[in-house]
Structure formats: structure tokens, C-alpha cells
């Protein structure tokens, strides 16, 4: 078995008495104080996450743009330098290798940010697709550290504490900035449903930023609240709402594919076929009428028939009621459909609803 990795902030997490657990091969902070207060800090104020476990690959070369467009479900051709695009990598059969952010520097240089749990698999897969494309793929995951600063006050605290003016950085765009003689990459992106930023740099800059934020008493947030936050915003998590057995259409992520456009991409043929034949199942929202908490993996029934399973479920911290995302067979995906969720030895009634559990608080207006 491989040794468990540590991020450059590991020692800081221990000093803060974080509850640590292994996640994707890293010893990561799950919670510092409690998940609820960390969650609320991000919804109402600001919080900082160590997400240095995320994977980063550079794709460079004269064919970089064509290559990324070929392996990526979403479109990067025609996007401006400094744009960030969310999308997926798909196998030929349309199921998902991973979801990722693609940072476009220019048509010959892209940064792919992938899930920590998939770094090795993704790297091998991406390299295997290069064929005749004039590109090089470089896995720089171990050289890049990352923090996410999320919440309605994120912009203000970065301006105040780091002296970096991000007011003109648009949603899903990035820039490179000078900080303590280091280059830092900052994007207006995140995984919480709030306005916020992700900062990538080397270990020394990320350690400095973390220290400045701790000295300013900004709330450190662990992977526990990262999950409750992304869930309320109905953002998918690999291994739950998406996986190598689930397609983007089934996950409700068609918007992040170019299947209705001319550009070809890996998995497109299978996805078009699936679209034509009609989906047999889809990720939906579920709301539960009584107090019980649906958890990932619990079975969902209509009458005697097993019709799906919970992909993620919580007692929502923001809404204070139990809600879930679930993979449900058609035709039971219709809003208002009454379902029974098996919670241990009981069956609890729930209703299919849309996934819009709360309004996202992104800063999307033109600046």
C-alpha cells in the first residue's frame, strides 16, 4: 500500500486540531470545529479550504486546443484566454472518466484541474488519447498547492489580506498575480454555490496565504463542509452523482456538453444515441416530509418496485430539512412523484423535486 500523502498545510491542520481522515490518498482535514459552523461561515461570510489534493495537468502544444476539445465534453474552441470551463472527460460509451475545470491560457496552453481521487487514472487516460495530436501532457499535481476562499466576503478579504484586486475578475475566469515574489493563479470559481476564488501556487505562497488568513481569524473549513455546501448547490461529486457507470445526460449535465453542437468529442456518439433512445434514469432532487436523513446508497422504491438510490443526502444545514440527490429510473423522475426511501428498516415517504435546493449566489453580472 502506498504511503498516505500530506498537503503542504498538513502541519497547520494538526495545530488547529482538525479531525483528519484519509481522502483520495491524502491525510485531509474533515472538520476543524464543527461542520455546521464551517458551512454557515461560507454561506454568510467567508471560509478557506485546503484543496491541495486536487490534480493539475498542463496540456501544451500546437494542437492543444484541438486536443482538449476532443477529450472534453464542453467547448474550449473560441473561448478567450483567461477563461475557465467546467465539463467532463467521457469514455467512448459515454460514461464519465472525471469532471474537471479547464483553464485556457491560449490555444496552445491549457491547465486541467481534476479530482484528487482520479489523478492517476485521468493522467493515463488523457495521455492515451494524444495519438497524433502535437501535445505534451504534464502532471504537475505534486508541484501545485491550492486553497479555495469561498463566501460572499471572499472578494473583500482577498483584497484586504492579500492586497490582490480581484474586482474585475469575472465568474469562471482566471488571472495570474504577484504575491510575495511568487506567481499565483486565481480563478473566480468554487464548489460551494457561493461567490469565491481558487488560488493555485507553490507551497511557500500557499502556506503564507493560509497563515495570513488564520491570523485574520478567517474560518478554516474541512472536507465535511465542502461536501454539504456543494450538495446544497446540487454540484455533482465523482463517485456519487457521476461515475464511470453514469453519463452526463443521466447526471443532468447536458448543459456542460456540446452534443447539440458540431464539434466532435470522445463519447459524443454514445451520448447522442442515448439521447435519441431516451434516458432510462436521471439524477433528481428528493425532499422528505418527516424527519429522517437519506444517505448515499439508500434504496428508493415506488410501491414494491426498486426505482433507484440516493447519491447524496443530508439534513440540509441552510434549509434545516432533509433533502437528497438520487438516481431514479424513468418515469418516476417526474416532479411530485411519491417515493419510499428505505432508511434502515423503515420506509420514509419523499417526493421528487428539482435540484435547485437554493439559489446560487454567484457574482455573474458584467463588470
Amino acid at each position: 500500500m502506498e504511503k498516505i500523502k500530506q498537503t503542504c498545510l498538513h502541519e497547520q491542520h494538526l495545530l488547529l486540531n482538525a479531525k483528519m481522515e484519509e481522502f483520495a490518498g491524502y491525510d485531509m482535514p474533515i472538520v476543524y470545529d464543527n461542520i455546521k459552523s464551517e458551512h454557515i461561515a461560507v454561506r454568510t461570510n467567508v471560509g478557506i479550504f485546503d484543496v491541495s489534493h486536487m490534480g493539475e495537468f498542463f496540456v501544451r502544444g500546437t494542437d492543444a486546443e484541438r486536443f482538449v476539445d476532443h477529450i472534453f465534453t464542453n467547448c474550449v474552441i473560441g473561448k478567450e484566454g483567461g477563461s475557465v470551463t467546467y465539463g467532463m472527460l467521457c469514455y467512448e460509451n459515454g460514461t464519465i472518466v472525471d469532471d474537471l475545470l479547464v483553464y485556457k491560457y491560449n490555444s496552445e496552453e491549457f491547465l486541467l484541474v481534476v479530482n484528487a481521487s482520479n489523478i492517476a487514472k485521468d493522467y493515463e487516460w488523457v495521455v492515451n488519447q494524444t495519438g497524433d495530436f502535437d501535445v505534451t501532457v504534464k502532471n504537475v499535481s505534486d508541484e501545485y498547492s491550492e486553497v479555495a476562499i469561498q463566501g460572499p466576503k471572499a472578494e473583500a478579504v482577498i483584497i484586504n489580506l492579500l492586497g490582490i484586486d480581484l474586482r474585475y475578475l469575472q465568474f469562471f475566469h482566471f488571472g495570474t498575480f504577484q504575491f510575495h515574489n511568487c506567481q499565483v493563479l486565481i480563478s473566480r470559481t468554487g464548489y460551494t454555490g457561493e461567490d469565491g476564488f481558487e488560488i493555485y501556487s507553490d507551497t511557500s505562497a500557499i502556506r503564507d496565504i493560509w497563515k495570513i488568513f488564520m491570523d485574520a481569524k478567517i474560518t478554516p473549513c474541512g472536507l465535511g463542509s465542502r461536501d454539504t455546501l456543494r450538495f446544497e448547490a446540487a454540484l455533482p461529486l465523482y463517485g456519487h452523482e457521476i461515475s464511470d457507470e453514469i453519463t452526463p445526460l443521466e447526471a443532468g449535465l447536458k448543459f456542460f456538453t456540446k452534443i447539440d453542437e458540431e464539434n466532435d468529442f470522445l463519447g459524443k456518439t454514445a451520448l447522442l444515441k442515448q439521447k435519441e433512445a431516451g434516458l432510462t434514469r436521471r439524477v433528481v432532487g428528493i425532499e422528505i416530509s418527516k424527519m429522517a436523513i437519506p444517505r448515499a446508497g439508500y434504496k428508493v422504491f415506488v410501491g414494491e418496485e426498486e426505482v433507484g438510490y440516493i447519491t447524496t443526502g443530508y439534513l440540509s444545514i441552510t434549509l434545516n430539512k432533509p433533502i437528497a440527490l438520487a438516481m431514479i429510473n424513468r418515469p418516476y423522475t417526474k416532479k411530485g412523484t411519491e417515493v419510499q426511501i428505505q432508511i434502515r428498516n423503515k420506509f420514509v415517504t419523499g417526493f421528487v423535486r428539482n435540484k435547485k435546493f437554493l439559489n446560487k449566489n454567484y457574482k455573474t453580472e458584467e463588470l
Binding site: 474533515i30 455546521k36 465535511g224 461536501d227 424527519m291 429522517a292 436523513i293 444517505r295 444545514i317 434502515r344
Partner: protein, 125 residues
């Protein structure tokens, strides 16, 4: 270091059991278990009148992150549940040894003999 109370009985899955009469016991979870769980947001309890079997699950205690099954150390009938925990599940974190979950009329007192003493439980945590 988590508190362990002398005189109670314990089992490895971190439930405590307190004898309140010859054939009635209270069951809860230990302070160690409550700390490990983090903030308790919901306690899923059985109904009064439910029959329990030693070693079987009778409900769950849930933190934000996960549900942990509750395992009955004894066989018998649930004669009372702690209604306070329905509205205030955080009582489990505040004082785990007072936040009992269920009162059980036990049907086989011999099952108590195999439970752990405070001393034995301390060695586990």
C-alpha cells in the same frame, strides 16, 4: 480523554447501559462515541413496544456527515424513548451519559453478564 462512568455497563460498539431496576435498563452512547461522531443532528429511535434482540440494531445516531447504527446490548421490550432527544439531539454531545436513548424491559438478564465494565471499556478507547 473521554469520560467513562464507573458502575455502568458498556459494549464495544460504544453503547452504555444503566440498570434502573431489576429488569429495566437505560441505553445510550458513550462520550467517546459522541465526540467521534461530532455534532449530533438526529437520533432515530424505535417505537415504544418494539421488541429488541441482543446484538441487533434498534436505531441510529446521526451527525451531519453520517449515520451510526445503534446496537442493543440486550433483548427485551422498549418501554420508553427519550423524547427530549427528538427536539434537542445536541444533548448527546453536551452530556452523553445523561442523554439516554431508550428504556428497555429486559427479558434475559444473563445477557448483562457479558457486557464490559468501565475498566474494560476504558482500555478500548
Amino acid at each position: 480523554m473521554s469520560k467513562v462512568i464507573d458502575g455502568l455497563m458498556y459494549q464495544e460498539s460504544h453503547e452504555w447501559l444503566k440498570k434502573v431496576s431489576d429488569d429495566e435498563v437505560l441505553i445510550g452512547i458513550t462520550e467517546f462515541a459522541a465526540k467521534e461522531l461530532g455534532s449530533v443532528v438526529f437520533v432515530d429511535l424505535p417505537e415504544v413496544g418494539d421488541e429488541l434482540t441482543a446484538g441487533s440494531d434498534f436505531g441510529a445516531v446521526e451527525s451531519v456527515k453520517a449515520a451510526s447504527d445503534l446496537t442493543s446490548p440486550v433483548s427485551g421490550e422498549v418501554i420508553e424513548i427519550n423524547e427530549d432527544l427528538v427536539g434537542e439531539p445536541e444533548l448527546v454531545n453536551e452530556d452523553a451519559f445523561n442523554a439516554w436513548f431508550i428504556k428497555v424491559k429486559i427479558s434475559n438478564p444473563e445477557e448483562l453478564d457479558v457486557l464490559l465494565s468501565a475498566e474494560q471499556y476504558k482500555k478500548l478507547i
